[in-house]
Symmetry: C2
Subunit: 255 residues, 2 copies
Amino acid sequence: MSRIIVVANQKGGVGKTTTVANLGAALTALDKRVLLIDLDPQAALTATFGIDPYKLTHTMASVLLRSSMPFSRILHPVGANGKIALAPGGIDLAAAEVHLATKEDRTRRLQQVLEKNRVPFDIILIDTPPSLGLLTLNGLVAADEVLVPVQSHFLAMRGVRALMETIWRVKRRLNPDLRLLGLLPTMVEPNSRHATEVVEELRTVFKSKVFDVLIIHSVKFAEAPVANQTVVDSAPNHEGAVAYRKLAEEIANHG
Amino acid sequence: MSRIIVVANQKGGVGKTTTVANLGAALTALDKRVLLIDLDPQAALTATFGIDPYKLTHTMASVLLRSSMPFSRILHPVGANGKIALAPGGIDLAAAEVHLATKEDRTRRLQQVLEKNRVPFDIILIDTPPSLGLLTLNGLVAADEVLVPVQSHFLAMRGVRALMETIWRVKRRLNPDLRLLGLLPTMVEPNSRHATEVVEELRTVFKSKVFDVLIIHSVKFAEAPVANQTVVDSAPNHEGAVAYRKLAEEIANHG
Ligand SMILES: Nc1ncnc2c1ncn2[C@@H]1O[C@H](COP(=O)(O)OP(=O)(O)OP(=O)(O)O)[C@@H](O)[C@H]1O
Ligand SMILES: Nc1ncnc2c1ncn2[C@@H]1O[C@H](COP(=O)(O)OP(=O)(O)OP(=O)(O)O)[C@@H](O)[C@H]1O
Ligand SMILES: [Mg+2]
Ligand SMILES: [Mg+2]
């Protein structure tokens, strides 16, 4: 049985895609068989691994709308040595979301696909867009666990409570197995009192649900996607890479 | 006649809200009468000025759904000396967006409201959520000009072309007066080759449509909202405040 972890936060630009890509690379280095799923119409995860979503005929949109294309056929090998499987996103996901809105099982499409196709993966990571719409809901319903990156800024703190309420509602009504894996402080500016105070506030409110690992703010994370790489693969001794590897170990060991 | 500028970019966390707040404060300092409109259900702009959206009975949602509440009655005085008017956002905007989807004039609600209520403002700035859904479309249809903040990271560059296509489509079908005011490079890491390359790429592709002004990356922008302030008001000599004031002058003088 695969472990399905959805990475979600409706606040934009908090490090969701970066976390899926780097955590995926770090889990692969621990010999886990990893599948990454891109549910964002902007397909930043797909672009991070050098795939041009505009050139794809099949993305997650076709899978959610149940086209004849089998799930395994849309997968691309990515990452160092092509060891990660990626189910790409693309702009047609925006139209798919509108189309799904009229369907009875609109929140369960991804869950159904993964139930039919779980075979070869140990861990499945799902990237979501900055909203709490149907695409993110499909991720929350399909998943066993939710990982929430929280940028260590005041404005990013505000949305966490609303997100917890959404997770709770999904758990009550749609996916009783869903549990919060943890809150991951991201973009922590070194030597910034503000960042320290935000992380302390997170730990006060959410206690052990906040990972010990912090991801520091570093321009390396913005640079790596240019070369279609993750920081974990391109700069393994970088502080950010070390942090994502620690996160991977913590997640792999407390399954 | 007011000048209506919508600040939009579907990529999350690129500095839309920060730009509306700081540009608004800088324009007010130039003695412009400024109205800020918060179209984001997460209402970060509203929170930036110390208003708790959860405590409001009337937000932009009531206005878009044409409740009996007149537009002028939902406005709050904010900023230094309460000189800025704010039309607050809130979580009910998410439900309003779903409700609007069934209406014939779903993209024109904001335009209609502003046509009826333009009276006292020189400049109206509209903040939008990180998506190209109905709320952002209402902003694009109601506006005369679009200002696009672009984070100076590779991943943020990707969405600009798709956004330009959306602006062009809105101009052709819904709002012939809409024009691109400019692209504003944000979060430019000082001394980073990556940031310089991204800004150079922007200037190569979009030429004079890229503002000369750059907004540097500074933790001050994350800190200011904690004290319900903008950097323009709280640290007027800070490089970021100077940049937003320059932007305000450039916009005010090239009306
Ligand atoms: N720790 C970090 N330090 C500095 N920059 C980072 C860090 N993590 C990610 N970034 C950069 O910040 C930007 C936002 O990150 P990312 O795209 O992963 O966030 P997101 O939550 O997926 O955004 P969206 O809401 O648009 O999907 C990207 O350009 C990324 O390269
Ligand atoms: N120039 C800057 N340097 C550093 N941090 C910044 C800068 N501008 C904004 N920020 C911070 O980065 C975060 C994202 O900015 P902001 O919320 O304005 O972006 P946004 O595009 O409105 O995000 P969303 O897509 O979620 O609405 C905020 O916490 C803000 O305080
Ligand atoms: Mg993303
Ligand atoms: Mg915003």
